[in-house]
Amino acid sequence: MTKIRSWARPDSMSLVFVLLGAIILLFIFAPIIKTVVSSSPGVLWNNLLEGDVYYSILLTVYAALVSTVIGLFLGVPLAYLLARRRFRGKRFLEGLIDVPIVIPHSAGGVALLFVFGSNFLAGRAFGSIGISFFNTVAGVVIAMMFVSIPFLIDSSREGFKSVDVRLEKVARTLGASPWRSFFRVSLPLAWRSIFAGSVMMWARGTSEFGAVLILAYYVPFLGQYVRVAPVLVADRFNSFGLDYARPVTALVILISLVVFIVMRTIAYRGEKA
């Protein structure tokens, strides 16, 4: 089908808005593109092979993935309840879930330490089964989870809200238990939003700096002592300056971008096909 284009005569407001939009787009993309293209592919490749960088990226990707999987298991049921039930204080609770987004992440890290440190409630409970969170991979995981789970819960909740509740009711009359109605009807229909939320959560987890810095700065991972990529970038810059930080920065941006774009493409595939 041929698309019919019509050109409205641009009025002054549209012109100004396009100009302002162009400025903000440039502001976002100029640094990203400049960083990525300023190192040659060869330099990037050699940089990746460097143990420090390689393990750092691996840890970042892995820990964010683990936190997202735990987030799915614990967050999706809550999202469903928020979408379906009416109860007092629901608005307040929904606001509370978004708190990790608004507080400084370093403060979040300190707060986590107060609960998950070996001398405190949850820390002691987990300690008794041999899991400690201070300077461990588990610490990286919970730091990432704390700051990124709101994205998954919010997106999943909206996904469930968009599923007509009567579809679940019909499923019940057709003999489905609440469990089966959830897994056969609600979950498949909200899947796109849940997946998109997972991608957001994972991406936000990989980019976490503040909370990880406090809770798990250097962690033992695959026989090495490793920092997550955002921490590595900051350290390189602080210790050796801009030139030395650039290749690893470019790598981290590239990898995040590629994964993010691929995942979003999967999430939105088939929509409005």
Binding site: D164, R166, L174, G175, A176, V185
Partner: protein
């Protein structure tokens, strides 16, 4: 049989209460009420899908007030059909059988047989989004009926259809009920629909049941403003289609013969709008096929218009203006003639 005693449901801004109903097995039962009267919620409460405050329910002689919806042997069809959008027509129909662990080998044959009955065999591979309103409706019916429920709940099943499809679906429902022998509870705001389909009708008004009875009983002794308004605005008769005459069907309504245009045969209902009837002191020669003599038996003033009841028998309600009323010097006991066209008689 389904029995409901003292049901009370909270609808947020008002209560549905003192709901008492007894519905016989195999009955086509209508719950009639204006939009927003809580009809759909009542239906969901019967299905166990809406929490109730008080009340007891029996299904087939066993108490089932707290029984889970999936254990009630019910099927439901919603106004917008609520088909599973991620499943094909075939998978939609098969859903209930799969949930009830129907043997896999027989499942396909059963789904195909049901699709045949519902007239959706040619659509099995399609997704609901690609179907027309009528096709969705038939798919939803097939999905509900394939599990052989004891009770079929219909929530305004015809109101989303265009008039032609509605009429067709109305007779399809009638035919279906005759064949499947399932108890149907059908919720509607449409009086014509209630009269056309229901064995008995419960009128829901102000959050409780105002009246229960056969369509004729309800029309003759309307217990609510809503029904009264309708009763005044329609003449409804039951009759039998006899031999055709001059291309018109002749319908016998308790001794009086009316001419109408219809393809239906046997036992039928017919309706006639009061404003389509002409009253005259003498018989008039005209193109209208129906001309009957009767006696004015009641006069009801309604502002600028007047409803005159003329007993032929049966009673015909006619609508005239105050001016005609005065010109014709109509009073009780006066003999008059009524005239209306065969095409003004709506047969269903």
């Amino acid at each position: 049989m389904i029995a409901i005693k003292n049901l009370k449901v909270n609808l947020g801004n008002f209560l549905l209460q003192n709901i008492n109903l007894e519905i016989q097995s195999g009955e086509y039962f209508i719950i009639l009420g204006p939009t927003g009267a809580g009809k759909s919620v009542l239906l969901e409460a019967i299905a166990g899908l809406f929490p109730i405050l008080e009340g007891v329910g029996w299904i087939g002689g066993r108490e089932g007030t707290r029984r889970a919806p999936e254990k009630r042997k019910i099927g439901i069809v919603y106004q917008d059909y609520a088909l599973f959008p991620h499943l094909s027509v075939e998978e939609n129909i098969a859903f209930g059988l799969k949930m009830r662990k129907y043997p896999k080998r027989e499942l396909k044959a059963k789904v195909e047989a049901m699709a045949e009955v519902a007239g959706v065999s040619h659509l099995l591979g399609r997704r609901p989004a690609t179907l027309s309103g009528g096709e969705r409706q038939r798919t939803a019916l097939a999905r509900a009926l394939v599990t052989e429920p004891e009770v079929l709940l219909l929530d305004e099943p015809l109101s989303a259809l265009d008039p032609a499809a509605r009429e067709q679906m109305q007779s399809a429902l009638k035919e279906l009920h005759r064949r499947v022998k399932v108890t149907i509870i059908h919720v509607t705001h449409d009086f014509e629909e209630a009269v056309a389909l229901g064995h008995r009708v419960a009128v829901l008004h102000d959050g409780s049941i105002a009246q229960v009875g056969s369509p004729e009983e309800i029309l003759r002794h309307p217990g609510s403003e809503f029904v009264a308004h309708f009763a005044l605005s329609r003449n409804i008769f039951t009759g039998r289609v006899g031999e055709a005459e001059d291309g018109c069907a002749v319908i016998d309504i308790g001794g009086t013969k009316l001419k109408a245009v219809t393809d239906l045969t046997g036992e039928v209902r017919l309706s006639l709008r009061p404003e389509d009837i002409i009253i005259s002191p003498e018989p008039v020669r005209s193109t209208a096929r129906n001309c009957l003599q009767g006696v004015v038996s009641d006069v009801a003033h309604r502002g600028a218009v007047i409803y005159i009841t003329i007993t032929v028998p049966p009673d015909f309600i006619c609508l005239i203006t105050r001016q005609s009323f005065e010109e014709l010097e109509l009073r009780k006991e006066v003999k008059v003639w009524i005239t209306f066209k065969a095409s003004a008689v709506h047969v269903f």
